[in-house]
Structure formats: structure tokens, C-alpha cells
């Protein structure tokens, strides 16, 4: 922000909503701006804009991945496509379960946050982060297993797409892990904590769902 005043104002509002940040300002941020008459004046970005922004970003990310998916479908069914179906490494099943579990723990963390249970929140939030890192590690193991079988990026179109899908998704998930860590350790400035938790949760659940879709595509659509 160009000025210190805006930041101060938000911090004022934020600290005014109860100590420890253990409040429901995520939901409160949504509801409070509805009238737009007094305290939600025009010099400040309303908290709901961050949530709107995340949904818009997800629309763009979805189009990015759908471009890959449509390329996959077209390329696979080309005449003379030289396509050899790829046996997905079995560890992907485990990774998928881990990622789904991380969404559940994240939901748990969000629930604890709403119940103003700061310790519970931090516990489940950290668990989610750990599961996320575990997933990325699992994906790297899958890559190494494929590489050990001599299957690289350029080996076959099917392996090319496998690496592109997992790589692009993995990068997006790494961004999500950074965001989780940010909320765990910082997230007291600018964006109110409740909003940050909301925004990161939306992103994480989306990346989870996206992975399940990509995995099913790679497994069933091979």
C-alpha cells in the first residue's frame, strides 16, 4: 500500500476484534462489508476482495490446467501418436490419500479457528502443512521411480504429459505450502488473519480436488 495510514487502519480494526486473533473475522469480514456505509469506508480494501481475488485466480489456474488436459486428450488420440500408456507409480495412490487427508485436517483447523481454539488451530494447521510437504516428497519419489525405469520427460508423449501435469501441480502446491507457512508464522499484517485462513483454505482444497482429477485422468485415461 502506498501509505502507512491504510496499514494502521487495518491493524486498528484487526486488533479491535479481540486478542490473539482467535476470532471469526474471516466470516465477519464478509458480513460486515455488506452495508458499505460507515466503517467499511472507501480507503480500505474490503476483506472480501481477497476472497473474490482467490476465486478469480482459481478460474485462471483452472483454464491453465484445462489447456494441458485438452492437449492430453487430443494428443493421445492422434493417429500415429506413438502413445505408450504409462503405468502410474503405485506411490501416487498413497500421495493422493495424503493430500485428501490434508484437506480434512485443514477443515479441522478452520473449525478450531472458528471455535476460537488457537492451540487446536495451530496444531491442525501444522499437520496440514506437514501432509502437504509429504505429498510433494511423495511426488518426487514417484519421479525418481520412473527415472529409475528409464522413463523421462521425452521418453514418450504419455510420460511427457505425466511430468507436465505433476510438475505444474507440484509447483502450485509448493505455493500453497508457502502460504500455509506464512499463515502459521506471520499473517498478522494487512490481510486480517481470518481472511488469510479463508483464502489459503480455498486454494488448498482446490489444489486437492485438481490433483484427484488429474490423477484419475492419468490413471483411467491412460
Amino acid at each position: 500500500m502506498p501509505s502507512t495510514i491504510v496499514t494502521e487502519e487495518i491493524e486498528l480494526i484487526h486488533s479491535g476484534k479481540g486478542p490473539g486473533g482467535g476470532d471469526s473475522s474471516g466470516d465477519g469480514g464478509n458480513g460486515g462489508d455488506g452495508g458499505g456505509s460507515d466503517s467499511s469506508g472507501a480507503t480500505r480494501v474490503p476483506q472480501r476482495a481477497y476472497i473474490t481475488g482467490m476465486f478469480i485466480a482459481l478460474a485462471g489456474i483452472l483454464m491453465f490446467f484445462m489447456a494441458f488436459v485438452s492437449a492430453y486428450i487430443v494428443r493421445k488420440d492422434m493417429p500415429n501418436s506413438a502413445w505408450i500408456p504409462l503405468q502410474v507409480p503405485r506411490i501416487l495412490w498413497l500421495n493422493t490419500l495424503i493430500l485428501i487427508a490434508s484437506s480434512l485436517t485443514l477443515g479441522r483447523a478452520h473449525h478450531r479457528f472458528t471455535a476460537k481454539d488457537e492451540d487446536g488451530f495451530r496444531h491442525w494447521w501444522a499437520t496440514t502443512t506437514f501432509l502437504g510437504i509429504l505429498f510433494v516428497a511423495g511426488q518426487i519419489i514417484a519421479w525418481r521411480q520412473l527415472a529409475a525405469q528409464g522413463i523421462f520427460l521425452a521418453t514418450n508423449p504419455s510420460s511427457s504429459f505425466f511430468y507436465v501435469f505433476t510438475g505444474a501441480h507440484g509447483l502450485h502446491l509448493l505455493g500453497g505450502i508457502l502460504a500455509l507457512l506464512y499463515v502459521q508464522f506471520r499473517a498478522t499484517r494487512k490481510v486480517a488473519r481470518g481472511t488469510a485462513i479463508e483464502v489459503v483454505s480455498i486454494y488448498w482444497h482446490f489444489m486437492d480436488g485438481l490433483w484427484v482429477f488429474l490423477f484419475l485422468l492419468l490413471y483411467l485415461g491412460r
Binding site: 502506498p2 495510514i5 489447456a67 487430443v74
Partner: protein
């Protein structure tokens, strides 16, 4: 600062402090107004380069054997001509037609017109400009790397663009830089689009309902949605193309391809897949270039005809419809690619159906002018020029939209003439109208009106002199990317037409110096502009020229009426600003 008070339709806050220091203020600024001007200056640099490239192309077409001092070996080679074609198209489409109307004017005026202090995410805004800047540096660097600029056209068709140096001098480093540049541009545009959409949804002033937004805001808003959904697809395509070039994958390169007697080590890829990914982005991109211009034209026509926009709602819906249909017609760029005639038919019908919202817009522009007290100021002239060029260029689109006709005209100068008029020059006229209209607000000074009018007439007549004859060359079978048509028997007799176009291009190019001089001279020496020199109604005109750092100096407006209340019966003035409460409007006694 916690004191909020209502005084006459505005919320009062303490004014913001300006950031201190040159770098924070002008280089890495998070102020949308500074970023808007940065985008504008980037586009201005790009357009100068783009025009010089096009003049070199026109020169070469007429005097192919002339000795040029700056070309190694004296004469321009055919590959160098193709490099000019590629770089002209890329620079103009991405760094001028996308950057100036949306990144420049959209950034500057969207927040002010909806009564917001800034974009929703100012840091993201700064990031998107600087990524665009890096993308621009990458594309310019393609001129100086070994092998020079790429030769595969602004569409980067595979397999030519996917194989590296073996397919031509610029296809090594130059093509790689092209892909990197375009991918970065996509990333920056996605961030920008995200910001525009969130700002429009969540930062509108109290009372600024969707149907009270100026049509310029509608244009930028829908453009941002198109960008959000289209640029990600090109980014994905760019990544796959880069992998084909550098990692040996075969997404786009077919098996058994022999180039320069060498069998290429690829298998089973599809060059058409690239065309689909590219044009799924490429067609919405056309509307990304033109929709802001449509918004500006409506805005300016209404202001200088002193009449409300005729059929405001229809105009807003037409913008949305054009944006929606724009995603379903990409196949019309590929009629000759061997696609099924049935899908060609579907693409054809959908393409021609865009004529409906386009006709609604044109009809309403004329309806806005009808019976108005028209003031022929320079922004008005350029807005009228926009309408003229949009119609002239759009009509030839109806021919090209039919597969049977397109079979004859594809890849001829007819296509070049069509898209230059409808998306190139028309969009440029939108940019000029916006520049002359908003210059007083952006820089606090007026531009010189006689110079602006000279600039208009040279550019308007010049554009028609360049691009109207081009249609005939196309119908006669002139192939668009031939470096030297005089060597082709059936085209040789058309050389005089080419000569006419080249002379017109040089005169029109030179006339742009009127604009450049006027722009920079007025920056320093133009007469001071008042708050509202055009007696316009929208929110940017109720604040200072140029606006303070937080746009409204702490007095945030509330909105009580639509954006185009000109010549309201019973009102004393012939314009009523959007923030005026009903009780504040002066009435005829």
C-alpha cells in the same frame, strides 16, 4: 483517520501521504496512476518500434533490391523480412494493443471511475507491470542475439517454431526468447486481469451499481475476464512448445519430419494442436484489444454529442455478448487447416453471429450522435474515426467468416487488410481518443487542439489509403508473407498499388510526429487544465487534474445517477456529475 463524516455525497477520510523518494514514487510505485502511465510509456516505446518495423517492411516490398545501411550485406534477406513481420506483429499485438488500452488507461481510470482509491491489490499491480517490462526486454533482445529475431510470425506456428535453428536463422535463440517473452506476458496479464476483476467487483463506491458504471469500465472489466480465461491457455501452450524445443518432447512435432535433409527426432505430435491452443487465446485477444476501445468510443461520443449513450443497457450487454462469443469462434482462423466441414460450419455461424452485438453497438453509436450538439474536439474526431474503421474493417470479416470464401482469401493481403482496420487501426484510434480525452486529467495540462486535428486527418485518411487498396491485392491473390511479390508473375502488375500503399504508410508514419511533439510539448508547456475541461459526468472529472495520490483527496464520492446524464431536461447545466445528489442539481427556474 477513524473519523468518517458524510458531507454532500462523499465520505471523508484523512488524505493519504505520498511515498517519498524517487524510486518508490516513480519506479516501483504501487499507485495505479503511476503504473498506468508506466504501461502507457511502455506501449508508446513499443509502438514507435512497431511502426519503424512496418515502414521497413513496406519499403522492402516496393524496393526489394535497395541497399540499406544498417543491414549486413546491404540488402535485406527474405528471412530478415520474415523477422520484421514476426516482430511487428508480436510487438504491436501484445505490447501496444493489449498494453496501452488495458494496462495503461484501464489501470489509470478504472479505479477512479468507480470511486476507489486504488486497485484491490496494488503490489500485484506493480508486479504485473514489471513482469510485462521484462517480457518486453526479452522480445527486444531477440533482435540482437545470434541468428536475430524469429521468423515464424506472431502466431508462432509449429513445426517451424518448434525445431530450433535448423528451420531458419532466427529460430534458435530468437524463437526461444519469443516464447519466454510471450509466456511472461501471459503471466503478467493474468495478474493484471485478476486485479481488474476483483477491483470492479468489490471496490465500487456506494451507489455505483453495475448499470451505473461508465461503458469504459464495462469494456475493461469484460476485457479482464477474457484475459483471465485466455492467457492461461497460451501460457500452457508456450510451456509445451518450450519443452518441444529444449527437452525433446513431441507435443507439436509430427513423426518423420525432414527439415534441410535431416530427419527430426520427434514422433506423432500435432502441429494443429498448437494452432488450437494459440487461437483459443488468439481470438479472445482480438477482443482484448478492441473492447476497451469500444468503451472509450461510447464514452467520448456521448460526452461530445452532449447526449446520453443511446441504449446504455444494450451497450453493456453487447460488450458481454461479444466477450462470450469471442471464445467460441477460434476455429475461423483454421478453416484451411483440414478441419471437418461440419465444425467449420459451426465456427462460421458463430462467427457471423458476432455481427449482431457489433451491429447493436454501431447502431447505438449512431443513435448517440443523432440529434446531438456535436463538438468536434480531437477526442471526438478519433472516436468517430474508431466507429468508421470498425465498420469498414468489420464488414470484410463477414466474407472471411465463410469457409468457402476464406479458402480463397486465407493468408492473402485481404486478411491483413481486414484485421489491421478492425483491430489494429481501430484500436489505435481508441487509444488516441483516450489519450486526447484524458491527457488533461493525467498530466494537468491541455494538448494543442490544431495539432491534434492535423494529426487526426493525416492518420484517418492515411489509414484508409494504406489498407483499402490492400483488399484488392488480397482478392488478386497476393500472399501475405511473401518478401518480394515483384518476382511472382501474377502479382507483378500490382506493384504500383504496393507503391501507393508504401508512400501512404510513410506519410502516415511521419504524421505521428505531430502526436509525439504535441504530447511531449504539452506535458511541459500546455495550458493548465481545470478539473473538468470537457464538462463530463463521470467520477474522474470531480477530482483534481492530476488526481491526488488517493484519487479523491480523502473525499470519497457516493453515486446517485447513471454515467451519461447529458442535456437532462429541466437541469440548468447540460451535464450532471454522477456524484451529485438529486437535491444538489441546479434547475432551470
Amino acid at each position: 483517520m477513524s473519523s468518517h463524516a458524510h458531507t454532500g455525497g462523499s465520505t471523508v477520510h484523512a488524505p493519504m501521504a505520498e511515498p517519498s523518494g524517487f524510486i518508490r514514487k516513480y519506479i516501483f510505485s504501487v499507485d495505479h496512476k503511476v503504473i498506468g502511465i508506466q504501461y502507457f510509456l511502455l506501449a508508446l516505446t513499443a509502438v514507435v518500434i512497431g511502426i519503424v518495423l512496418s515502414l521497413l517492411m513496406r519499403f522492402h516490398l516496393v524496393w526489394p533490391n535497395a541497399t540499406l545501411p544498417f543491414v549486413s550485406g546491404g540488402q535485406m534477406s527474405q528471412e530478415q523480412y520474415l523477422a520484421l513481420v514476426t516482430m511487428h506483429g508480436t510487438i504491436m499485438v501484445f505490447f501496444v494493443l493489449t498494453t496501452a488500452p488495458q494496462g495503461g488507461f484501464g489501470n489509470y481510470f478504472l479505479p477512479i471511475q468507480i470511486g476507489a482509491p486504488d486497485m484491490a491489490f496494488p503490489r500485484l499491480n506493480m508486479l504485473s507491470f514489471w513482469v510485462t517490462f521484462v517480457a518486453f526486454v526479452c522480445i527486444i533482445a531477440a533482435f540482437v542475439v545470434p541468428g536475430g529475431a524469429p521468423i515464424s510470425g506472431w502466431t508462432g506456428y509449429t513445426p517451424l517454431s518448434g525445431l530450433g535453428e535448423i528451420t531458419g536463422p532466427g529460430e534458435g535463440w530468437g524463437q526461444t526468447l519469443w516464447i519466454v517473452s510471450i509466456s511472461l506476458f501471459c503471466l503478467a496479464s493474468l495478474l493484471g486481469a485478476l486485479n481488474f476483476i476483483a477491483t470492479t467487483i468489490d471496490l465500487r463506491a456506494p451507489g455505483m451499481s453495475l448499470m451505473r458504471m461508465p461503458l469504459t469500465v464495462w469494456g475493461w472489466f469484460v476485457t479482464a475476464i477474457l484475459g483471465l480465461l485466455a492467457f492461461g491457455v497460451l501460457l500452457a501452450g508456450g510451456i509445451l512448445l518450450l519443452l518441444d524445443r529444449s527437452a525433446g518432447t513431441s507435443f507439436f512435432i509430427p513423426a518423420g519430419l525432414v527439415v534441410n535433409d535431416q530427419l527430426q527426432p520427434h514422433s506423432g505430435g500435432s502441429p494443429l494442436l498448437w494452432q488450437h491452443l494459440f487461437w483459443f487465446f488468439g481470438h479472445p485477444e482480438v477482443y482484448i484489444a478492441i473492447l476497451p476501445g469500444m468503451g472509450v468510443a461510447s464514452h467520448v461520443l456521448s460526452t461530445f454529442a452532449r447526449k446520453p449513450v443511446y441504449g446504455y443497457r444494450a451497450m453493456a450487454y453487447a460488450i458481454c455478448t461479444i466477450g462470450f462469443l469471442g471464445f467460441m469462434v477460434w476455429g475461423h482462423h483454421m478453416f484451411v487447416s483440414g478441419m471437418s466441414p461440419y465444425s467449420g460450419f459451426a465456427f462460421s455461424v458463430l462467427t457471423m453471429s458476432i455481427g449482431v452485438p457489433s451491429a447493436i453497438k454501431t447502431f447505438n453509436w449512431l443513435g448517440t450522435l443523432w440529434g446531438g450538439k456535436i463538438q468536434f474536439k480531437s477526442p471526438m474526431l478519433f472516436a468517430l474515426g474508431f466507429v468508421s474503421l470498425f465498420v469498414s474493417g468489420g464488414l470484410s470479416g463477414l466474407f472471411l467468416a465463410q469457409p468457402a470464401v476464406d479458402n480463397m482469401l486465407h493468408a492473402t493481403y485481404y486478411v491483413v487488410a481486414h484485421f489491421h482496420l478492425v483491430m489494429g487501426v481501430a484500436a489505435i484510434f481508441g487509444i488516441f481518443a483516450a489519450t486526447y480525452f484524458w491527457f488533461p486529467k493525467m498530466f494537468g495540462r491541455m494538448m494543442n487542439e490544431p495539432l491534434a486535428k492535423i494529426h487526426f486527418w493525416f492518420t484517418f485518411v492515411g489509414a484508409y489509403c494504406i489498407f483499402m487498396p490492400m483488399h484488392f491485392i488480397g482478392i488478386a491473390g497476393g500472399i501475405r508473407r511473401y518478401a518480394d511479390a515483384s518476382a511472382v508473375g501474377f502479382l507483378a502488375h500490382l506493384q504500383p498499388v504496393h507503391e501507393f500503399m508504401t508512400i501512404a504508410a510513410f506519410i502516415t508514419g511521419a504524421a505521428q510526429l505531430f502526436f509525439l511533439f504535441n504530447f511531449f510539448y504539452s506535458l511541459k508547456f500546455g495550458p493548465k487544465a481545470s478539473k473538468n475541461p470537457w464538462n463530463a459526468t463521470t467520477l474522474e472529472w470531480i477530482t483534481d487534474s492530476p488526481p491526488p495520490i488517493d484519487n479523491f483527496g480523502g473525499h470519497y464520492p457516493s453515486v446517485y445517477r447513471g454515467p451519461y446524464e447529458f442535456s437532462v431536461p429541466g437541469a440548468l447545466d447540460d451535464f450532471i456529475p454522477q456524484n451529485l445528489e438529486p437535491s444538489q442539481v441546479a434547475r432551470v427556474k
